[in-house]
Symmetry: C2
DNA sequence: CTGAAAGCGCTTACAG
DNA sequence: CTGAAAGCGCTTACAG
């Protein structure tokens, strides 16, 4: 391995001088040129770990997401990596599987400067482990302290779904969800949905399937048996179903279809996220689409500002859109 | 930040002794206990970068994939991270966007021990940069030297698709692809498909849309105009279309449907990959499903063996299955 | 503007 | 079995 020492020897300067050209500090033009030549000739590249040890900066950032099976998270990570790479940062990914220990392990890495910062979609209660001055950007979830939070406009999402149902003549709708009840933006989805429906004269209920944050087989079965109970004599008691994610909506769609309920004829369904296979497939369900790319850009932007100790906005909310996926009229 | 020095002082031993308990070497029981207590009390955690600098091992591995938008890659990365985490490794992700420079940057990191090893889905010609002794596992692509390669059974995949078409009475089928022509497993898809068709008495053609590795808008348009040319008087000249990925198949499905061709009535379509939204959606097209999880496990397993300088198999091929997605009879 | 030197937090022969 | 010491490849005051 070629080190800074080899470069210094080859260029006939001290290691300090080499370090200075590496870090773009002032060096006499002539020396700079010689050092650059030697770097090129020897194929030298800085050892990030040695640099990180001394300078306490590693130019790597970690992202915590539940998993990459959910295309929303995969897309998010994809764009975060892309934006980060453009500014010279590397990305460590942590699939937490909603396990608090795994989240904590990465938060600790940030504390010890093993990563420069953290972007996290987190559903467990890790509040107390966060320090106010740590470069940390949360997605959807609020924390105590002054932790930054980026999210899509969940309130707008709930409202858009409600308005769609109202304008297409629904009479009795329901919001189906499961997930964390910790303070965060996503809780606003259901509230805005129900409120808007009420104001529009449409009856609206909420059905909460508990705190479990992933949609496990077990959760799915609960939803399925709930739907079975909603059907009397081949007719469904709700004519509009809004769900907390597209996956929920897909599960609902499958089950209703199996029970012979027509979608969107008898019942309309709207999911949340706006996911589809790549960018070419159709939307599998009508949905509220999150601006994933903009969210990624905003997260990285905010995180870099935090790392550089520049001022940032603490709450950033990005607009959503309704997308048609064949499950609405 | 609490260091090994603080722990040593607190426990009343030398830093060497602390290091030994950290690395599970022999330490007198009594000392070990005291050190462990101090570690716990002070909340000490090793600084990976300092350790990496000295020990030339960082317990991080990088994976290079074109992007995470394609659910096959997202799933692969998801499982790779999961398996890696279980054995104490961290994962750096690099979306190459099929850019050789980005791939090279990460190969260089591996060379300089900034990562302990590399898993790569690579389509550019980076052969010469690889050294035979570097822990490197390739997916689908062959390299010179003794580089390990893990892949799904592409030959079997081509054969399964052909057999499906034969058994459902197709007379004239085609294989549509684009992508790298570098030596690799994926080239076998088309060959096995065409050969099996021929043997079964079915006419089979190949249509190659060039070396571009991603399916860009431009590529899609080429495929679309090709399909338009295949239709005379409202009838399609091929009755079976096998494509090199599910995304291709989805594009084909959409276009045929738009042109009023019935799928699978008039034309059957089979993709490759076996992707769908999460694990709950239907397959959007009939497909040859790759065993993503097994591939991830095998890659990690092989890489760790390589890192630990244990013997490995150089070519590992895992079986595929046909999955029904409504575009076959 | 540059060099010599200290030090970042670890690991690892080497004595004892 | 343990401690003292060297050294991994860098950066950064500090003299000059």
């Amino acid at each position: 391995m070629v080190t800074i020492k080899d470069v210094a020897a080859d260029a006939g300067v001290s290691v300090g001088t080499v370090s200075k050209v590496l870090n773009n500090m002032y060096v006499k033009a002539d020396n700079r040129r010689r050092v650059e030549e030697s770097i090129h000739k020897l194929g030298y590249q800085v050892n990030t770990y040695a640099r990180g040890l001394k300078a306490q900066q590693t130019f790597t950032v970690a992202i915590i997401v539940p998993d990459l099976i959910n295309p929303f998270f995969a897309l998010l990570v994809n764009y975060v990596e892309q934006v980060l790479a453009a500014v010279g940062y590397k990305l460590l990914v942590c699939n937490s599987h909603c396990n608090a220990d795994r989240e904590l392990a990465y938060i600790n890495m940030a504390k010890q400067n093993k990563v420069d910062g953290l972007i996290a979609v987190t559903y467990s209660n890790t509040d107390e482990y966060l320090e106010a001055d740590m470069p940390f950007v949360s997605i959807d979830r609020h924390f105590k302290h002054q932790i930054c939070c980026v999210s899509s406009d969940n309130e707008m999402g709930g409202r858009l779904a409600a308005e769609k149902f109202i304008s297409t003549g629904c009479r009795n709708v329901i919001y189906i969800r499961n997930g964390s009840n910790l303070e965060g933006e996503t809780l606003k989805r259901g509230k805005a949905f129900v409120d808007t429906c009420m104001q529009g004269g449409v009856e609206a209920t909420r059905m909460d399937f508990g705190e479990e944050t992933t949609l496990s087989k077990q959760q799915m079965n609960k939803i399925i048996s709930f739907l079975e109970q909603c059907v009397k004599n081949g007719s469904m008691m709700y004519d509009g179903i809004f769900t907390s994610s597209d996956v929920h909506a897909i599960v609902v769609l499958k089950q209703l279809t199996e029970m012979g309920i027509r979608v969107p004829g008898d019942v309309q369904i709207i999911g949340y996220d706006g996911m589809r296979i790549l960018n070419v497939g159709d939307y599998p369900v009508s949905s509220i689409a999150q601006p994933v790319k903009e969210m990624a850009v905003t997260c990285v932007d905010t995180l870099i500002k935090l790392i550089e100790k520049k001022p940032v906005e603490r709450r950033i909310i990005l607009p959503v859109t309704f997308v048609e996926g064949g499950t609405t009229r």
